[in-house]
């Protein structure tokens, strides 16, 4: 359970990035935090593992204030995958890279080995076990970064812009992967402005504008709300746009899922043919 109570955060430069944000994320929830650049998304989630402490207000992880424990301790529970894998890769081999965090958390060597093998397998990286992370492609490096966090099996996984620089196939894999994690009762928090990706995942969406939460609810409701999306400078999914534009034909305006859209359209077409 992640709880933030009216948190404010001001950077040393004087920029007020968060202006009173209150939110509760229950265990096992799948949440997407959306909003334009500079809306405070990343600043907000950096509070979840204590990297940033609120200048006012409080963040509670399973009832414990992030001020009371170290980042290392919180990270054991809350795994954070950074946007750019190049900000964390440093080891000679992929295997070592993944083992780094496990050793930091004091896993026994036998357990380190087991978890590394498991994480490599999970992300399809087994063949690169002995390769240098610097020789891998961008997408592969991103997966190594992800594996290096998932390896210690945290209860909460925060992904900062996981879809940037990924091709469609990798995105689809990532989506299935998140769904799978979520089915294992893991809490997943995704920071993104990839509307199509969110539309396909259909999580709880939290919309941020200028350091404040302006909307919180089902993806279906938020992504199809023209005023809300406009205020947050995001564009509704393409399928929603088509349905909006064809509203005169009596098409529903709250569709984000392609399969649902296809069904509605084919039903209509069948009717017409008759």
């Amino acid at each position: 359970m992640i709880e933030t109570k009216d948190i404010h955060f001001t950077y040393r430069t004087g920029v007020e990035a968060l202006k009173g944000v209150s939110l509760a994320i229950r265990d096992g929830e799948f949440v997407a935090i959306m909003g334009q650049n500079g809306a405070g998304k990343t600043t907000f989630v950096k509070h979840f593992n204590g990297l940033l402490k609120p200048t006012k207000g409080e963040v509670l992880i399973d009832g414990i204030s992030t001020r009371a424990v170290s980042v290392a301790k919180l990270s054991r529970k809350v795994g954070f995958v950074f946007q750019n894998p190049d900000h964390q890769l440093f080891s000679e081999t992929v295997e070592e890279e993944i083992a780094f965090a496990l050793r930091n958390f004091g896993f026994e060597e036998a357990m380190v080995e087991k978890h590394v093998t498991w994480a490599l397998n999970l992300l399809d990286l087994t063949e690169y076990r002995k390769a240098s992370p610097f020789m891998l492609s961008g997408g592969e490096r991103k997966r190594v970064a992800l594996a290096s966090v998932l390896a210690w099996d945290p209860d909460v996984i925060i992904l900062d812009e996981p879809t940037i620089g990924q091709d469609h196939r990798q995105k689809e894999k990532l989506r299935q992967f998140i769904v799978q994690l979520n089915e294992q009762r893991k809490t997943v928090v995704v920071v993104t402005h990839d509307v199509e990706f969110v539309a396909e995942c259909n999580p709880r969406v939290i919309l941020m504008v200028d350091g404040e939460i302006v909307a919180d609810g089902e993806a279906k409701k938020i992504l199809t709300d023209a005023t809300l999306t406009l205020s947050a400078s995001i564009v509704p999914p393409q399928i929603t746009q088509i349905f909006h534009n064809l509203a005169d034909f009596g098409l529903p305006s709250d569709v984000i899922d392609i399969y649902e859209a296809k069904k509605i359209l084919s039903d209509r077409l069948m009717e017409m043919r008759r």
């Binding site: 950096k46 593992n49 990297l51 170290s70 980042v71 290392a72 990270s75 054991r76 795994g79 954070f80 950074f82 750019n84 190049d86 900000h87 964390q88 890769l89 440093f90 780094f100 965090a101 930091n104 958390f105 610097f134 290096s148 966090v149 210690w152």
Partner: protein, 264 residues
């Protein structure tokens, strides 16, 4: 990273910002020489307060204080080392020892202070212009200004990398001295790799914008000495002259004259 803060230029204008960077550098050099001349506490204290009016005229007090705070840590180390070694090798004793150690760290602070003011009030563009007009080859000028310009970018990146590794359970402050040094490997490697990557990208971007296509460069602006610049020249020369005079012709009071005998 607070030391860097004291060298980060912010785009504001003030009489100090408008001074010719070449002259400002001359002044810094004069300060440098005079500072090196003295090992006594009193003149160094005067030298420490000498640039304060400049700081206020330029309105960079906050950044300036921050750089001093950053320098304080190193200054403490300098103090401790000088004190210990001078004590054991019996170079100085009593008040002279205390004065020597304090002066050494104060000297360092004064040097940081003057360079900090120079960089806080001189825009990278101005600096490169000054170098160019001093007939430094443009390749060197460009490399220099690029390096200066990327310091804050690098500092920011180091912060992000630190966050990313902390999120993987890295505790920088844990372990003995050697372990603590080793703790920085996961931060330095990504930082260096990304700096090299960035420099290659920058080189490509420059090539694609025809960098170095014409050998004769012209500038929209040229630096010209104004009256205030001549005032600073006079001040710098005066500073140097007074410093040299005091050093060689005037006995300088030492701390020992004001303190009771000390036990070390």
């Amino acid at each position: 990273m607070s030391v860097f803060e004291g060298f980060r230029f912010r785009r504001v204008t003030s009489p100090i910002h408008r001074l010719d960077p070449r002259i400002k550098f001359l002044y810094v050099l004069a300060m440098f020489v005079v500072t090196i001349l003295f090992t006594e506490f009193l003149p160094l204290l005067v030298l420490f307060f000498l640039p304060v009016p400049f700081v206020f005229a330029a309105g960079v007090q906050r950044e300036w204080l921050r750089s001093l705070r950053g320098a304080l840590f190193l200054a403490t180390i300098i103090f401790v080392f000088n004190f210990i070694f001078s004590y054991f090798y019996r170079v100085y004793t009593g008040a002279a020892l205390l004065e020597y150690s304090i002066s050494m760290s104060l000297r360092f602070i004064v040097l940081v202070e003057s360079f900090s003011i120079f960089f806080l009030t001189t825009s990278p563009d101005h600096l490169s212009l000054a170098l160019e007009q001093s007939h430094v080859p443009y390749e060197f000028t460009f490399a220099f200004t690029t390096a200066v310009r990327f310091v804050p970018v690098l500092a920011e990146e180091a912060q992000t990398i630190m966050d990313a590794q902390k999120a993987r359970g890295l505790e920088l402050e844990r372990g003995n001295f050697l372990k603590r040094v080793r703790n920085y490997i996961p931060i330095l490697i990504p930082l260096i790799v990304s700096a090299i990557r960035r420099s290659l990208e920058l080189a490509e971007a420059m090539e694609s914008r025809a960098w170095g296509a014409s050998s004769k460069r012209t500038n929209l602006y040229t630096l010209q000495l104004k009256r205030s610049d001549f005032a600073l020249i006079t001040l710098s020369v005066l500073l140097l002259a007074v410093g040299l005079y005091l050093r060689y012709f005037v006995p300088i009071p030492t701390l020992g004259q004001f303190l009771p005998p000390l036990p070390f």
